[in-house]
Symmetry: none
Subunit: 229 residues, 4 copies
DNA sequence: CATGAATGAGAATTCATTCAT
DNA sequence: TATGAATGAATTCTCATTCAT
């Protein structure tokens, strides 16, 4: 976070440090993806080829390490959103985006329980803003029904998380089929939705309340393990 | 934590064993619903107003206690399925059922990570069979699109779990809106689904793989905490 | 111990009580013989067909129950000693006695760790006195070497315990062969024994020190389990 | 229990890992010798001046710690066997060996219930092989009667264990006298032994059956406590 | 700076003993 | 009086975090 790049004789050390940080993040990401957040710090350190102390130097807390990994994942999603913006068809772009988010979540199946709630606020805000734009553009184009709001998009992501968490070890298509179904619903105007969407405030609270839990030490788990095992 | 533990002799009159068992199950259910499965046995015992030993008398293992609670939840779902069968309109019955499952899952938001996987096999099989019937009847009536299979129903439940786990502390409508959306997709015949459903085998594996994880001691979490607290 | 046999209208209750006591002792004996002293009180109660409370009525402590069983075993040994006295050949009588003690110890293989140390002092004294007599008579007859003292007999019992504890589940001859060897040594006069025997005081201390251990709660176990299992 | 736990920062300087491992093994050995295997890990850790976690770092399980200590003891016995081989008189060498084994067993009186059964298979095999050689050589020399087999040697060790377990706190000669007696029997050819020895298979089973018990959690005890205390 | 050994609170589970019914 | 449910201290083991080397 504060990696000041001051030109100096100690640049080599700097590089070592940066390399180490990368190794740690890689190891953490992979560990979380495969085994979920319950993996011990020792296991992550081992995978990274460093000592636990080295991890704790950069990440004072396991929660911080998790947050760092989550940030990367959320950044992947942001990039997907940006890419989707380039699609000349707003409707296709929006759908591309939903699939991309599904793909990212599937890839990081072990991290889902903390996605959004533990991530860097700024990036999350960016993602939110992009999501909103993608949705509105698609709606303006008439590709997506008009009674849908941004909060429904967030809900779809949680929905996918539920499906992915359970099916990831067994199928890589299940979530796609589910999303397909959802998209079909999103593109039809006819039936009115009978329940109100989450308000923006509530959507924000979801993250906050979840965060509280974590803070209280009731550290959740990650319920996934990939196919090979 | 700082509740003075002065035991006045008449503070707790001992009741029937059955009553005690109820207290334990109630306490466990509430604890799981609110705090998830990570709650300590001690905490559950305290909530029930009994010693840990009392819990262990009926439930030799924490897993057994969890299973008992889960069984109750699954039984609620079974009852809902049975009730839905009575609806003269097969389509309405099926939708009733989906909402009922959502409602039950919402009520026991802390238990979702073990639903299905830890429950009594027989009851789960019963639920599955009833679900299948409800679906087929609704399809025969033309209320539900024909390319949907039972495994999609299971997927919908997982999807709802994802939504509920995140939104339960904040909204009791979010999952309903999501389900509404899904049902609209289920009732439309037009768009073909582009991805295959889970095979029955895979659907079975979902439970099994999850169960393995649990067995391996990577005890899942429960990611929810209700509004008040 | 204090079973006053006052003739009275409540004699039937008395009989029930006595029957219960027998059932408890039988169950305890069998349990200890088979599983050692670690068996839970619950298991013993179950075997006896009574509740734990009933056991605790007669035996305020597990140690007391153990002592009661041990007393019976020691009484068996006393009876064997008495019987051996009847043998017209003092030498044969003495050897008979050694074998008899071995047999009793083998039968109660799970109880050996407390034999002697936990038993009723009076009966132990009786056994000791009889043993002494049997030994002296055999020595007077010239059947047993003269440099052997009573304490050596006790030592032989402990020696047999060591052999039985290890071999009981596997062989019912091992201890006999060992005793045969010992007896051959006992009947030869030639080699002088190079080490002094335990003094009577020391022999007494063995029991006392052991008893202390027990009292301190470091309740030993019984290391045997019979062949069938 | 009531030792003020004020941690002055310089109270315990941290030493090498190796040194610590030694401290742990020493503490474990002493604890077992004195109090038997029932001592809590906490107690051992306290004696070693470390936290429980430190023990568990090297010994994932209490059983592993026990095994480590036992291995050392068995190694002592192996060394004694090797040394006995050097004795030009095969008969003396054999007797030396028996005494050496007695001495080792006496020193580790609290560990006897697991000797052989919990030890490293390879070393046990080595000891067995050496014992066999020592016996055969002595028999060839005519020093030991010919109807004795290796399994009888094992039996003698168990016999000594029985004597030592009871007498160790009270006398350091008792076992020697008993062994003296046994050796006199071993050196006489005249009387035939009336019972068959353990077969090699049975001797092997002794260890296995015992091991099973341990595995089943019926952790044996150690029935000894040294004189002082 | 990096390392990984040490820490110790916390979690599940057992079992002798007590006591309401 | 008998029953067996309830108790809770004690035990083994885990893991995030600290800190000597």
């Amino acid at each position: 976070m504060t990696d000041a790049t001051v030109a100096s004789p100690s640049r080599v050390l700097r590089r070592d440090a940066a390399e180490n940080l990368d190794k740690v993040l890689d190891a953490a990401r992979t560990s979380f993806d495969e085994d979920g957040f319950e993996v011990g710090m020792e296991a992550i350190a081992h995978r990274a080829g460093v000592g636990v102390g080295t991890i704790y130097r950069r990440f004072p807390t396991k929660a911080d390490l998790i947050a760092a990994v989550i940030d990367e994942v959320v950044a992947e999603i942001r990039d997907a959103a940006v890419a989707a913006m380039d699609n000349p068809s707003a409707g296709d772009g929006f759908c591309d985006y939903l699939y991309a988010v599904g793909r990212v979540q599937f890839t990081h199946a072990g991290c889902l329980s903390r996605l959004w709630s533990a991530a860097d606020e700024a990036v999350v805000a960016e993602v939110e803003s992009l999501s909103r734009d993608l949705l509105v553009r698609a709606q303006r184009e008439g590709a997506i029904r008009s009674d849908v709001v941004y909060e429904d998009v967030a809900t779809i992501f949680w929905s996918l998380q539920g499906v992915i968490e359970r099916t990831a070890p067994v199928s890589s298509d299940a979530w796609k089929r589910h999303l397909d179904l959802l998209i079909q619903a999103l593109t039809h105007e006819d039936g009115r939705l009978r329940y109100p969407p989450l308000t923006p405030t509530q959507a924000r609270d979801v993250k906050q309340v979840w965060g509280q839990r974590v803070a209280r030490g009731a550290v959740p788990l990650s319920p996934v393990r990939k196919l090979a095992d």
